[in-house]
C-alpha cells in the first residue's frame, strides 16, 4: 500500500496537556506522504465519530500522562459497540511503561509505539495497521 492513500486520525484522549509527541509524529507521517487528520484533544466518542466521517483507516492515540489503559479501553469498547473495530485499526504511543505494552495489545491496539520510537518503525507500524483493515 502506498503511504499517500493511508489516512490517519491523530488524537489525544481527554485533557492530555503534552503535545510534543503528537505534533512530531503527525509531522513525520505527513513527511512520509500519509494523510493526517489532526484532531488534538478529544473524547473517545468524538474521535470515533470523526474517524467515520473522514473515513480513516487508522486512529493514532498519543498518551503521556499515564491514563492510557483507561482511556484506551474506553475507545476500543466504543469502537466495538459501533461495529467499527474491523474497519479501523488503533495505534497508541507515548509514555507507556513496558508492562503496559502487552496489556494494550491484548486490549486490541494493533501496535504500541513508545516514546523514542524511530521514524521507520512508526511508519511501518501505521502501514501494518492500515493493511490489517483493508
Amino acid at each position: 500500500m502506498e503511504n499517500k492513500i493511508i489516512k490517519v486520525l491523530m488524537c489525544c484522549l481527554g485533557p492530555e496537556t503534552h503535545n510534543r509527541g503528537i505534533i512530531l509524529v503527525s509531522s513525520i507521517l505527513k513527511e512520509e506522504g500519509m494523510e493526517v487528520v489532526y484532531m488534538g484533544n478529544t473524547t473517545a466518542e468524538n474521535a470515533i465519530k470523526a474517524a467515520t466521517e473522514e473515513d480513516v483507516r487508522v486512529i493514532g492515540v498519543s498518551s503521556l500522562s499515564g491514563a492510557h489503559l483507561r482511556t484506551g479501553k474506553h475507545l476500543l469498547e466504543l469502537a466495538k459497540q459501533k461495529g467499527l473495530d474491523n474497519d479501523i485499526a488503533f495505534i497508541i504511543g507515548g509514555v507507556i511503561p513496558p508492562n503496559d505494552v502487552k496489556s494494550l495489545k491484548d486490549m486490541g491496539f494493533h501496535n504500541v509505539c513508545v516514546s523514542g520510537t524511530k521514524r521507520e518503525e512508526l511508519v511501518a507500524a501505521i502501514q501494518e495497521a492500515a493493511y490489517s483493515v483493508v
Binding site: 481527554g14 503528537i22 491514563a67 523514542g116
Partner: protein, 587 residues
Amino acid sequence: MTNNKQEKATAEILRENLKGTEKGQVYDPTYLKKVKEGLDSWKENVVKPDALKNWDAIPLTVLGSEIPREMVYTPLSVANNDYGEQLGNPGEEPFTRGIHSNMYRGRTFTQRQLVGFGGPEDTNQRIKYLLNHGATGINLLFDMPTIQMYDCDDPMATGSVGSCGVSVNHVKDWELLYDGIDIAKETSSIVTHYPSNSACLFPMYLVMAEKKGIPWDQLKGSIQNDMTLEELVRNSSEYIPPKDCFRIECDNIEFIRKNVPKWNFITINGYNFREFGTSGVTEMAVAAAHGMAILDEMVRRGYEVDWVAERLAFFWSGGMDFFEEVCRLRAMRRLWYRILKYKYKAKNDRSTWMRCHLQTSGISLVREEPYNNIIRSSYEALAAVLGGVQSLHVDSYDEAISVPSEEASLISLRTQQIIEHETGITSVVDPLGGSYYVEALTNEMEERILAEISEIEKQGGYVEAIANGYLSRKIFNYMTKEQMRIEKGEIKIVGHNFQKSGQGEDFESFRYPEECEEIQLQRLHEHKQNRENAKVEQALNELRGACKDGKNIMEYTVNCSRVGCTVGEQWKVFKEVFGLWKKPSMF
C-alpha cells in the same frame, strides 16, 4: 496593552544607558598584548593544524542553542569585561554573580520536588513523605482534567482523573490535600499552569486558609499563572483569545499583590515552553518579553513598577549543555537587572532580581537504561546550583516511563541533598565566575537573548507574537530540526541512539491509584448535592458580569470558591464570555 512597535527596542535602551559606564579594565592592556603574542605563537607552533582548523565547535545537545565554542578561552576572550559593570560582587548590581552576597551560605536552594497523583489523600501522603525526608517546600501538580479545567464528571475527564497529578474540583478537595500540613509554615509552589485555572484554583487555596484560620498575609508560595503555557504550550481543543488570557493573568497578579502580599503571583514559565521544543536562549527571551508585557500593563493600570517587579519570579528548564546552562542563568540575571534598571527605572534592588526556580529537563530523559537518567538529572541540577538558582526540582529517572515512584522521588530529593551537603560547591559564591570561558559564554548568551527579545518586539511584543503564530512556528521549526538531529545521531543520547544495549524493557513502573476516579466522582456528586445551588448560580452570574465589565476577575472567583463552585463551572463562564480562539496551526 502597549504596542512595542512604536517604542524604542529594549536593546536600544540598554545600549544607550550602558555607554560610558565602564569602571576600568581588569587586565593591563600592555600585558594583554603579550598574552596575544604568546597565544599566536602557541597556535602556530604547538596546536596541530587540524585542531586549529576546527577551532570553533558546536556542541549538539538536547535543547541546546548551538552556540559555537572555541577550543580554548583566554584573557583575550574577556579583555573588555569590566568587573564592576559586567559582574559586580555577589548581591550587588548587576547581580551576575548572584542575588545575595553570601548565596547558599546564607540560604540554600529550596528543595522542592514536584508531587501529585491520584486523589487528594494520595498526594497528601506523598507530600508528607517528602517533607519527612527533608524536602523544604511543596511543589504541587494537578491532574490533566484539573489543569485543563474539566471537573472529574466532564466527559473529557473520563479515564484521566488522577493521571500525572492530583485531582481537585472544589475547596473540600483542597482541605483533604493539605490535611495535617501547616500552610502557615510550609511554602507551596502551586503548579496551576494557566492564568484561567490560576483564577479558579488559587482562590480555593485562599478559602481553605480562611477555614483554617490563617490570614492571607501569612501565606507564602507561588502560583504559575502563565499565559505562555495556556496559549502557546498547551494542548487543548478550547482556547480563549490571548488578549483575554493576558487580562486574566494581570487580574490575578493585581489581586494577589494586594491581598496576599508574600505570595509570588506569577512564575514566568520558561520550562514547559522550552521542553515543548526550544533553545535555552528563546526560553529566556520569551520569558523576558513576557515580564516586560506584564510591567507595561500594570503601569498602565496605574501601579508602580517596583510594586509588581519585586515579586516577579521565573521558572527555567535545565538542559544538558552544562556550561551553557550555568552561563545563561548568570546572563539572564544581568540582563533582567539592566532591563529593570534602565528601561523601567526600578528603584529597589529586589525589583531587579531574576529570582528563579529550575527543574531539570524531562525531555532529556529516555526509557532505555533508565538509571542513566539519574546521572543526566544530576548534571543538570549541578549546573543549576552553579548558576545560582533559588529553588530546584530534580526530575526522576522513571519519568520517561511513568509518574515517579516513591523510590524515584526520593532519589531526586537525595540528588539535591548530595549536591548541597557532600560536594562542597555551595561554600563558595559563583565558583565559576572569572573563568575565561564562563564569562565569554555568559556575554554571548546575554547578547543572544537580547537579540531574540528584539525579534519578539518586531512582532509587536509578547502577546502579539503568540497571537500571530510567530512563536508557534519557531517552536515547530526547532522541534523538528532537533528530532532530525536525534534521528541522525548528531545529538547523541547514550543508550538511546548511541551505545544501545536494549536494557530497561522489563522496568516495573509506578501506577497511580486509578480507582481515585470513582472516589472523586462520588465526592463531587455529594458536594453538588450539599451546596446551596442558588448561591452557586449567583456567584457564577456575578463572575460572568465581572468578565464582561472588565472588573478584576479574582475578586469574583474567590466568592465562587466560598460558595462551592467547581473549577469546571468557572471555566465555562470564561469560555462563554470571551469566546473561543483558534490557535495558529503549527504545521
